[in-house]
Amino acid sequence: MRRLDASLQLLAPLALVALASLVGTLVSTSTETYVINALVNVAIVVALYVFIGNSGVVSFGHISFVAVGAWAAGVLSMPVQEKPAIMPHLFGLLGDHTIGNVWSLALAAAVGAAYALVVGLPLMRLSGLAAGIATFGVLEITHNVLRYWERIGPGLNTFSAVPETTGLREAALGAGLAVVVAFAYRRLRFGRLLSATREDSAAARAVGVSVYRQRLVAFVLSGAIAGFAGGLLVHMLPVNTESVYLDLTFITLAMLVIGGATSLWGAVVGALAVSGVDSFLAEAENGIHLFGRSVDLPAGTRIVVVGALMALVLILRPTGLTGGREFSVRLARPRRLLTKFAR
């Protein structure tokens, strides 16, 4: 039964990703875009889960790893002849080379991990509020530098002319890969030690767990997944600095928290559920027909609804929709202790 439980904890999120992709194949091309976007969101939220969910430390900085991943993949996979128009001040080395899309995704993951390592080495010593503010600082610095440093990217311009290779299949595979990596991490010694530090930091220290080292491992791994997701993102739609900043930070955190931060299942459920609501509202802002009536919501309704949803879930059910528990077939089971993130 335990083995069944364990495999279900991997298979259930994967099945959900597969189901979402299946929906994507059945709908019209314009709706398919929303599904692809939702799958990329799954990858980002799973990255957040690996660090925030397992460690219980809030990070507002993960979108900076998405951003550097997008920058790395975008700058290097844009065709050489297009580069001078969009990025005239690029470093020579970056300007003269172009790599394939798969390689650019691997590079995005590597750059995300490397940046997370550089940032995490000093920052993982902090926790609680100081960590929250410091990671916010990282987001601000990353946004600020990417926005104005035109030697490494398009600056204020948008990443147009990057090959749009993230289709439904690629996004589904990417999201699935993120889920598998996160699951493997959670089952390994590292993941178990890290959640021990979340549940009781003092007890974990007492048996010789280095909180700093475990957090750093998770931070780097989640940086890699986030960078990879950034690569998927830049190959999906034209990205600029504003699309990988506060709004994305907010919406992905909302997804994680609404789903239930302490479980992989929660991260995937939250990402898909909120993406679904969000895409529906985005459509409704353009005007849609629903049950014979035409619905036309004013622009901006999306964020109001998602913000209200997130605030409501946090106030009424702080452990999220899934209660922060992994998927399980047994309905009635003793409450587990894995709720420290939200108690």
Binding site: G56, V57, V58, F60, P122, L123, R125, L126, G128, L129, A130, G132, I133, A134, F136, G137, V138, E140, I141, N144, V145, Y148, S201, A202, A203, A206, F250, L253, A254, V257, P298, A299, G300, T301, I303, V304, G307, A308, M310, A311, L314, I315, L316, P318, K340, F341, A342, R343
Partner: protein, 303 residues
């Protein structure tokens, strides 16, 4: 950098002091609520934004300045009491992580409501624009608002010290900030202390709204968002656990921001946020408890 540092003149210094004063008031507003509730209010800037919209609303209709200011206070105080009732109260007893994320969500919610309601273009709050004019003191042009902001901040901080040190409710607030449950056991009424802290913090938000609209009359949905993020960094930088250190942290980051913004040449001042946040992160690494706190406060739990 060394060349840039020579650019500092009296005008920049006065502006920086004014900005430091405004940020210090915001730091007190955030710090007071943190003291009694252990909750960092990310949505503090949106209270200021609401107040700024009230001022813009009044000035668009040509109402006198005093009515605009009264409206601003009314809006901000109502909103902060509502926030306490609807958000802070259900959150009591949650972990700091949940509180931080929730107020982050509330901040976004309020901002997008403003976007929906008033549109992205912004409104002009011009009623107090005369304060933006310079006044010449012994050959140096100094904007009036720099002087007014410094004076108002000093006055407010003085009143606050008197309130905290000399009145009963101030005593209760200090007791609650030190140890909430013990204070409750000794007869401090939790509800009243919290309401008082929320009210005072709201009054400060309204004052800050008035002064910020003078500096920047264009009121947009993300009004005061930048400032709040900086002040939060400043509060953590100074040290959350004591009001004095939080206030000093707020002042320090405002002063540094004003000084660097005025002194750096344009091609460097676009990286101003990076410099400030890098400095904050460096300080947090050396002194995680805060710059102005005493040594010896161990945060690690003892079993």
């Amino acid at each position: 950098m060394t060349v840039a540092l020579l650019n500092i003149d009296w005008q920049t210094l006065a502006d920086a002091t004014g900005l430091g004063g405004i940020y210090a008031l915001m730091a007190v507003g955030i710090g007071l609520v943190f003291g009694v509730l252990r909750l960092v209010n990310f949505a503090y800037g949106q209270l200021i934004m609401a107040g700024a919209y009230a001022l813009a609303f009044a000035s668009e209709r040509g109402w006198p300045v005093s009515i605009g200011i009264v409206l601003c206070f009314a809006v901000v105080l109502t909103l902060s009491l509502l926030m306490d009732r609807l958000v802070f109260r259900p959150l009591r007893g949650q972990t700091p992580a949940v509180m931080l994320v929730t107020t982050f969500a509330v901040a976004f919610l309020l901002q997008s409501i403003a976007l929906l309601w008033f549109g992205p273009l912004g409104k002009i709050a011009s009623s107090l624009a005369t304060l933006n004019q310079p006044v010449t003191i012994s050959g140096v042009d100094i904007r009036k608002i720099a002087i007014v902001a410094t004076a108002v901040a000093a006055f407010c901080l003085l009143v606050l010290v008197l309130l905290l040190e000399r009145t009963r409710v101030g005593l209760h607030m200090r007791a609650a900030a030190m140890d909430f449950s013990t204070a409750e056991l000794l007869g401090v009424r939790a509800g009243r202390v919290i309401s008082a802290a929320v009210l005072v913090s709201g009054v400060l938000a309204a004052i800050v709204a008035v002064m910020l609209t003078v500096q920047n009359p264009l009121v947009t949905p993300d009004f005061a968002l930048r400032d709040t993020i900086l002040v939060l960094a400043g509060v953590v930088l100074g040290g959350m656990n004591r009001l004095v250190s939080a206030t000093l942290g707020g002042f320090a980051i405002g002063f540094a921001s004003g000084l660097l913004g005025g002194a750096l040449p344009t091609n460097q001042s676009q990286y101003l946020p990076s410099f400030l946040f890098a400095a904050v992160i460096l300080v947090l690494l050396v002194r995680p408890g805060g710059l102005f706190t005493r040594e010896g406060h161990q945060a690690v739990e003892r079993v």
